[in-house]
Amino acid sequence: MEDYVLQMNHITKLFPGVKALDDVTFDVRRGEVHALVGENGAGKSTLMKVLSGEYTDYSGELILNGEKVSFKGIKESEAAGIAIIHQELGLIQTLTVCENIFLGDEVCQSGLIDWDFEYDRAKELLDELKLKVNPKTRVGNLGIGQQQLVEIAKALNKNCKILILDEPTAPLPEDDSENLLELVRGLRDKGMSIIFISHKLGEVLSIADTVTILRDGQTVETRPAKEYSQDTLISGMVGRELKTLFEPRSCPIGEVALKVSDWSVFDGINNKWIVRDINLEVREGEVIGLAGMIGAGRTELGMSIFGALDDAITGKLEYRGRQRQRFKNSNEAIKAGVFYSSEDRKRYGLVLTSDIAYNASLSSLDKYINNGLFINRDKEYGKVKEMVKKLRIKTPSILQRAGNLSGGNQQKVCLAKALMTEPKVLILDEATRGIDIGAKTEIYQLINQMAAQGIAVIMISSELPEILGISDRIYVMREGRISAEFDNSARNITQEDVALAATGGVTT
């Protein structure tokens, strides 16, 4: 009998329209690093949310230390010794390190916070993690790597037995990543179990004892890490030859549609350059990929071209063969024929409380106005229906609320909105994030169709296979600059080439 600290058996979780988890089984031994890998949308995060009690409406059983449990919220799972550190850190930037560590767990003496105890304990935890910062420092003043350690300190303070790290190294520079991995090994050796979620397969193979692969909400297999290579991991995650996802394009590449030179963006609030000296061009009918790590400045580059960023921008913009002023706001950009579709469709993409038709036509209402004043519903709805059909948006009616759609369909509504403006240049930021493989394939086909119509597409993505599979050229960004440019017309660039440029020289 193995010493399992956690067993998750036959977990199934439904979302409206999507089976996020389908009979998943996942067991973790005491004192091991267990990597959970899978493509975006494979169900990793959902599984972890089931474990941490964020989702309660699932079927299946959860066994912790041999006892059947069911958590009704994060509080309960934390009390049971499970701590989760999300991709987006959950620290409050304006509070101090100490205050963050004890947030929700304040140690009190007759109703007042016992600061002496808290500072001593915080210091102890930070020392254990070899983090040399004063507990009275504001978290906002720390680097992202240090903040992550503060999160871990917070988890340690809660006496956690199972630590879940969701993409912990994604935002970190190489040195910090190495430190973190070292730390994780140390925690494991002390008997803690760590669930490690990462897209960086090299890292996974170097740190994990066991690997579980998820695909489309199902467990593919669980095996010791040493039985895997990067290739076998990838084929397990993808489940098919990658090439079939991306059909070849044969459309001609035309004139330069958009070109920026010496493009820089300065963030006055944090007092730093977030985009620096970018020279980039995209041609009609061409798809260019913009790769790089989270925080490399890709989103800021896209939004600054679109005129949607308040920061100080310098640089020249050439649009359809002519030098012109930078777009002052998104309205001007859309009118000129440039559209940016955001990575965060819930925050920046959709009005979730409104219906599909409303969302889809929001950026192109000018086309559906009668007598310069009133909206022509017939024309508007007609066009929206056409888009719903073309993009294969699964919905009973175009009056369905956007918030009720699945992620893939929401993304398609964002694309419909973009296409209805009839753009010449389309910037797609993480257009396939968090959606299932079927919808992804359809979106790739759509991008091909757009290119065939002569639209210039800039595809920002963190998923290398998709960048490699769909782009004619690839720009890689690192720390605000372009660190490499590749000609990928023969689709011969490898993940290693891009990863090397994105991380700055050290292969993972």
């Binding site: 409406d57 925050r347 993409g349 009005v351 929001l362 009720n404």
Partner: protein, 394 residues
């Protein structure tokens, strides 16, 4: 399982029809407590006249709330404009009243631009900006009037507040009957045409069973109101102004870019900005429209009372905001309708009117009004939380 489902439906049913239920309860209770004074032809006509002012404010107040903002200055602002109109008419009697109206609208446009500038372009919280201007307006009112009561007003302004539709025959309020009938016919014709079109476009399943009773209810209500007013003095111009403005702004909010953008800004400001909407400009437009509508309310108000005081309009913003919330406008923005807000405000006016008729201690009146607002907000929050939960559970 089936049991919980049944419960759920009951709440939804209650929530969707809460306006009608509230109206029935309020009217019923007051009829009993006032010993039959409430539901008299005369009182109902008065109620509509009194309620018109706040209801006009609610027409655009609801749009302001839908964008996620607010206007706390509306009441004092109305008081100030009423005073301006009254002062000009009393001190410069030779100025035609139409010019006075235009002057008031001009001032309104300037203040609308002012609010829109701070809220839209400087991106400051509307609560604080309008809280500040509320005091400024009160101060201006006191300064120009020197604390006196100023009146009487005359001409169009008096007509706007106090005038009734003329009669052709001279013996009956025949015009009222004709207009009422026309409105009911137009309403039925439009609703049926709209539904038919929806069905043709495949956007509506044939919901006649649901639509017809609702249509009948509204038509009957309109008929009853028409007959009641007919048997008293007929339609007042104030009521017609309220009605026409409601229809216009309602139509604008549903069928123009501006209206769409108002809902988009309230539903998701960030997404709206990235969709090419100039959020600042739309907010500026909205505050100008709102100021003009409040100015109209101010003219109706001073016309009805025939005199302006420094206390004028005190608390009207509260009635209008409460009315919006009661009428289904989400205080968090993004959701609500003009017609609902007007109906909600009329119910609030009925509440005020009834409590006055009962000679209820003003202290209790305040408590009741505050309580109604709290209840309405709580109900709305509960309904939307519940909705969020139901969607996840699908």
């Amino acid at each position: 399982m089936t049991k919980t489902k049944k419960k759920v439906d009951l709440f939804a049913l209650f929530y969707q029809n809460s306006l009608v239920l509230e109206a029935i309860v309020i009217f019923g209770l007051f009829q009993i407590f006032t010993g039959g004074m409430f539901l008299t032809v005369r009182n109902l006509s008065n109620l509509l006249m009194q309620g018109a002012t706040c209801s006009i404010i609610a027409i655009t107040m609801c749009l302001v709330i839908i964008t996620g903002n607010a206007d706390l200055s509306a009441g004092r602002y109305l008081g100030m404009l009423a005073m301006v109109a009254a002062l000009i008419q009393v001190n410069y009697g030779s100025v035609p009243s139409i010019v006075v109206v235009l002057i008031v609208f001009a001032i309104a446009i300037i203040t609308g631009l002012w609010h829109g500038f701070w809220v839209g372009y400087m991106k400051l919280p509307a609560f604080i900006i309008t809280l500040a201007t509320q005091l400024v307006f009160l101060g201006i009112n006191q300064y120009i009037s020197d604390g006196r009561m100023v009146g009487p007003v005359k001409g169009i302004i008096a007509e706007m507040g106090n005038g009734y539709m003329p009669s052709i025959s001279g013996t009956h309020n025949d015009t009222t009957l004709i207009l009422g009938a026309l409105i009911i016919i137009a309403y039925i014709a439009f609703t049926v045409a709209k539904e038919k079109k929806s069905i043709k476009q495949g956007l509506s399943e044939k919901n006649w069973m649901k639509l017809v009773p609702k249509m009948a209810l509204i038509a009957i209500l309109a008929a009853v109101v028409t007959v009641i007013l007919y048997s008293y003095k007929g339609f007042a111009y104030a009521m017609i102004i309220l009605f026409v403005l409601t229809i216009i702004v309602s139509y604008v909010s549903n069928n123009t870019k501006f209206g769409r953008y108002v809902y988009a800004i309230g539903g998701n400001k960030d997404a709206a900005a990235l969709s090419g909407i100039n959020v600042s400009k739309e907010l500026l437009k909205l505050y100008v429209l709102h100021a003009v509508v409040v100015a109209t309310a101010a003219l109706v108000y001073v016309g009805r009372l025939s005199a302006a005081t420094t206390a004028g309009g005190n608390g009207y913003e509260f009635t209008a905001i409460t009315g919006c919330v009661v009428g289904g406008t989400a205080i968090t923005g993004g959701r609500g309708t003009v017609a609902g807000a007007v109906a909600g405000t009329l119910i609030m006016a009925a509440l005020d009117n009834g409590m006055s008729l009962m000679n209820l201690d003003p202290a209790f009146q305040y408590i009741v009004r505050g309580g109604v607002l709290l209840f309405a907000i709580a109900l709305d929050a509960y309904a939307s939380n519940r909705k969020a939960r139901t969607v996840q559970a699908v």
